[in-house]
């Protein structure tokens, strides 16, 4: 199975060093720590929170945030993976997307689900994620955490917790490289290229 280093843009793995670094390893770590604290602040009843990462990039980020939250709350935080590819709205316009196994650690009904994604862009992924989540139960609340919000929303969706807001042009690409996939942690803004 591929282990993509990117999302939010269709950049292939590799070409390190190209473009502007938006967040380095320390920057990503601080952003995730802050997101974890904001999640803790927003959700007084810590026993109700379930974190679900959206593959590829959101999955390791969700695991990292859950770990920080465990330190804050002093109890394990259920954390899983929510694949959205079967609920996409562009399935017959592009080659088939890679499908990832979904893992929901506990019943989501009545819980607060925090969706975690690496890059928030058009919002269509999040729309698909909410549809997908519907098949597993009825959460009391869904919140959204994104490492980078690059704007250009096409749907009325906004993030509750954002690591970094980055104004971008549509022609630019935001590439997130994570240790779990490529051995390095960085978020890079690449100019030019096509619409992604």
């Amino acid at each position: 199975m591929n282990t993509p280093s990117s999302s939010g843009g269709s950049a292939p793995p590799g070409e390190p060093g190209a473009g502007t670094v938006l967040l380095n390893e320390g920057g990503i770590q601080r952003a995730l720590t802050r997101i974890a604290h904001e999640i803790a602040e927003r959700n007084e009843d810590s026993s109700k929170v379930i974190l679900l990462g959206i593959p590829a990039g959101g999955a390791p980020l969700s695991a990292r945030i859950a770990k920080t939250l465990e330190g804050i709350w002093n109890h394990p935080v259920p954390q899983g993976v929510l694949d959205i590819s079967m609920h996409r709205d562009d399935l017959d316009q592009r080659a088939a997307p890679q499908v990832w196994p979904t893992h929901i650690p506990a019943d989501v009904t009545g819980k607060t689900v925090v969706l975690v994604d690496d890059v928030l862009y058009s919002g269509r992924t999040i729309r698909a994620a909410m549809d997908s989540l519907n098949d597993f139960g009825r959460p009391a609340q869904i919140q959204l955490a994104a490492l980078v919000d690059r704007g250009h929303r096409e749907l009325p969706i906004k993030a509750d917790f954002v690591g970094k807001n980055v104004p971008t042009a549509r022609s630019e690409k935001v590439t997130v490289r994570l240790k779990e996939f490529t051995g390095t942690d960085e978020v890079v803004l690449e100019r030019g290229g096509g619409e992604s």
């Binding site: 999302s7 959206i54 609920h87 399935l91 017959d92 592009r94 997307p97 499908v99 098949d135």
Partner: protein, 313 residues
């Protein structure tokens, strides 16, 4: 890798990467069947025609359920109750179905190459659900998924296919898939049903059962296909059972962790002892469950509209 094929016609033409993508995708779809709501909207609004010109029960219901789980609309077209009985050609039947805006045609046919023919004359996506003695690609995929799940890998395993190889499309598809994925394949059965010519496909051929099963990690038993044999290929069923039936005594000669597969329908007491079919080494029912996953994966992948792979945005 980016999936670019519009049809699933055979295993022979697939690359190792394509096989791996199909199996990885199937793993993700497998969990859909374990949810409370066993349905995803991936093929919503699409129409699938199940064109089963040759009778089939398990493959047909497996395809049907896979299509339902992907939210497709389904038309069933079986030979017994159709215009094919009235002399319509396959091409005319298929074009009629396409005029109804069918997006996918899943075809089972007694003639080898029928799905390939349809893929040339139609715009719809075509999936081969078994053509003559040629190939049965989704059966091979579910076999690979089951082996990979149980053994953790396929490369390097000793896989023995036992029984009617000559008339078996399952055997051909399995041989292509197994050899591409790096397994060592042994074929065994009566010399009339397992000709030496199969060695050209990269398999070992033997007519001695003990030799074939001794080192096997996987034993795949095939049904004796009475309906495809133009003349009797072995003297009697009893003799076949005596020489090639998998009995408890023979099972004792195998490795303790050798797994037993069978594509069904099982002739209990012929190719396999009834207790073995129900025993803990048997994965026959897991094969059925995995059939749904690989068929969902195949439909999902070929549905892609081409162009760059969809990315999360």
């Amino acid at each position: 890798m980016i999936w670019t094929r519009k049809h699933l016609l055979d295993i022979e033409s697939l690359s190792v990467e394509e096989l791996a993508t199909l199996l990885d995708t199937a793993m993700a779809f497998k969990s859909v069947g374990e949810r409370a709501i066993k349905k995803v909207p991936a093929l919503r609004g699409k129409t699938v025609v199940n064109l089963f010109v040759e009778p089939s029960t398990r493959t047909r219901i497996s395809f049907e359920l896979s299509e339902q789980r992907l939210s497709a609309d389904i038309i069933d077209f079986t030979a017994e109750a159709s215009s094919l009985k009235k002399g319509e050609t396959l091409k005319d039947t298929a074009r009629t179905l396409e005029a109804l805006n069918a997006d996918f045609i899943v075809i089972r046919h007694s003639a080898s190459g029928a799905p390939h023919f349809l893929s040339r004359v139609l715009d719809a996506h075509v999936i081969n659900a078994g053509d003559g003695a040629h190939e049965h690609p989704t059966q091979a995929l579910l076999d690979m998924l089951t082996i990979r799940e149980k053994k953790g890998r396929i490369a390097g395993l000793n896989v023995t296919i036992l029984g009617d190889i000559l008339y078996s499309r399952v055997a051909r598809s399995d041989i292509w898939a197994l050899t591409k994925l790096g397994a060592h394949v042994t074929l065994c059965g009566p010399s009339t049903l397992v000709p030496k010519s199969f060695e050209r496909l990269g398999c070992r051929v033997t007519h001695r059962l003990e030799e074939a099963i001794r080192d096997a990690d996987v034993i795949n038993l095939l049904r004796i296909q009475h309906e495809r044999q133009r003349r009797s290929m072995f003297p009697s069923l009893n003799e076949y059972v005596n020489l090639f039936g998998l009995s408890k005594q023979r099972l004792a000669l195998t490795k303790p962790d050798a797994m037993i597969m069978h594509p069904g329908p099982v002739n209990r007491g012929v190719e396999i002892d009834s207790d073995i079919a129900d025993g803990e080494r048997s994965v026959i029912l897991q094969q059925v469950t995995n059939g749904l996953a690989v068929r969902m994966a195949a439909l999902f992948l070929i549905n892609g509209g081409g162009g760059p792979q969809a990315v999360a945005v």
